[in-house]
């Protein structure tokens, strides 16, 4: 089953000043969001494999759009995250089916690597619901400068029979990181953690 997409939204945030201090180069993060029809809204369906396939389709589409919005090559991306909000008539498990089984592989393909877990969140909500997409470094989850989150929302989504799916990508960590821990220069990139 192909995703029936009603709407695609791309957001780019560029931070140039934080506490009146210049951020150089500016930190940038992009989220690509798809609003799709939930084929299982309003009923309990045991086999969620059509949504799992939709996850694979959206992984590629949204990662490519997010990277394009940043204007960088995939391998230049530094952190990533994913999230889904299911409309009123859907089930939390519908978000899980889209996000977890197959969405990650095409995202990693677009970004060249991605040894780390893609951090995720999910919820059920109505139109305009705020979705916080967690962010972590794509090759080493413990890189402390890259723990972050990006809020996305769309005024008219998700409707009751829709699912809103977001993939966020950055080319940088937080502005002025100074809480220590593992830095990106120290990444070994073998186990996805350090």
């Amino acid at each position: 089953m192909k995703a029936k997409i009603r709407k695609l939204v791309t957001v780019v945030e560029e931070t140039r000043l934080e506490m009146d201090r210049a951020v150089e180069p500016p930190t940038r993060r992009a989220a690509a969001v798809a609003v799709i029809e939930n084929p299982f809204a309003g009923r309990y369906v045991e086999d969620l494999s059509p949504l799992i396939d939709i996850g694979e389709e959206l992984g590629e589409l949204l990662a490519a759009r997010a990277v394009a919005a940043l204007g960088i090559e995939g391998p230049k991306a530094e952190s990533y995250g994913k999230a889904a909000a299911v409309g009123e008539n859907g089930e939390l498990e519908h978000a899980a089916a889209i996000l977890h089984p197959k969405l990650g592989a095409p995202v990693r393909k677009v970004l060249g690597k991605g040894a780390a877990l893609i951090p995720s969140s999910k919820k059920r909500g109505g139109p305009g619901v705020a979705l916080d997409v967690p962010l972590g470094h794509k090759d080493a989850a413990f890189v402390r400068s890259h723990f972050d989150g990006m809020e996305v929302r769309i005024a008219d989504a998700p409707r009751a029979n829709e699912i809103m799916v977001a993939v966020a990508v950055t080319d940088s960590g937080r502005p002025h990181p100074r809480v220590g821990g593992l830095t990106k220069d120290e990444i070994k990139g073998v186990d996805g953690l350090r």
């Binding site: 009146d20 089930e91 939390l92 089984p101 877990l117 979705l131 002025h176």
Partner: protein
């Protein structure tokens, strides 16, 4: 380092019996505790802030990374706290999140901190892959 000044604490427990499908034998429970504290660094740039996190040093022996999200926001902001299994990040049945928020927090010179925990997998989880019973527990991942 400044000490932690707590203005308010909120706890929240959600008990979920079903998600529109069959009723679970045991309800799934998610809890969050929220603390509203003064931000000792609000309104100015401070270089050395690491010591302030000492009061948040982790407890216990959980192996997996604690998933996190953060943002700058005003009073009433909603926060999605990501959730994963405490000992193995890739346990698919335990990927979840809980939304929290407090109408009057965070004020401009405050921070709203949240910690969430659950009693198990999502209700009627059926996304496959690694289950809690299959955890090896060596690397925090699987």
């Amino acid at each position: 380092m400044p000490s932690v000044e707590l203005r308010k604490r909120v706890t929240l427990v959600e008990e979920i019996f079903h998600e529109g499908g069959p009723v679970a034998k045991t309800p799934y429970r998610r809890a969050a505790i929220l603390a509203v504290i003064k931000n000792p660094f609000a309104g100015r740039y401070v270089e050395d802030i690491v010591g302030f996190s000492d009061d948040l040093k982790p407890l216990g022996g959980a192996m997996a990374i604690v998933p996190s999200a953060k943002k700058v926001a005003g009073p009433g902001a909603r926060l999605d706290v990501p959730i994963t299994h405490i000992n193995a990040s890739y346990v698919r049945s335990h990927f979840d999140a809980i939304e929290v928020g407090i109408a009057d927090a965070p004020r401009a010179d405050e921070m709203l901190l949240a910690l969430a925990m659950t009693t198990g997998p999502r209700v009627r989880n059926r996304a496959g892959d690694l289950e809690a019973s299959q955890i090896k527990g060596l690397d925090g991942l699987r």
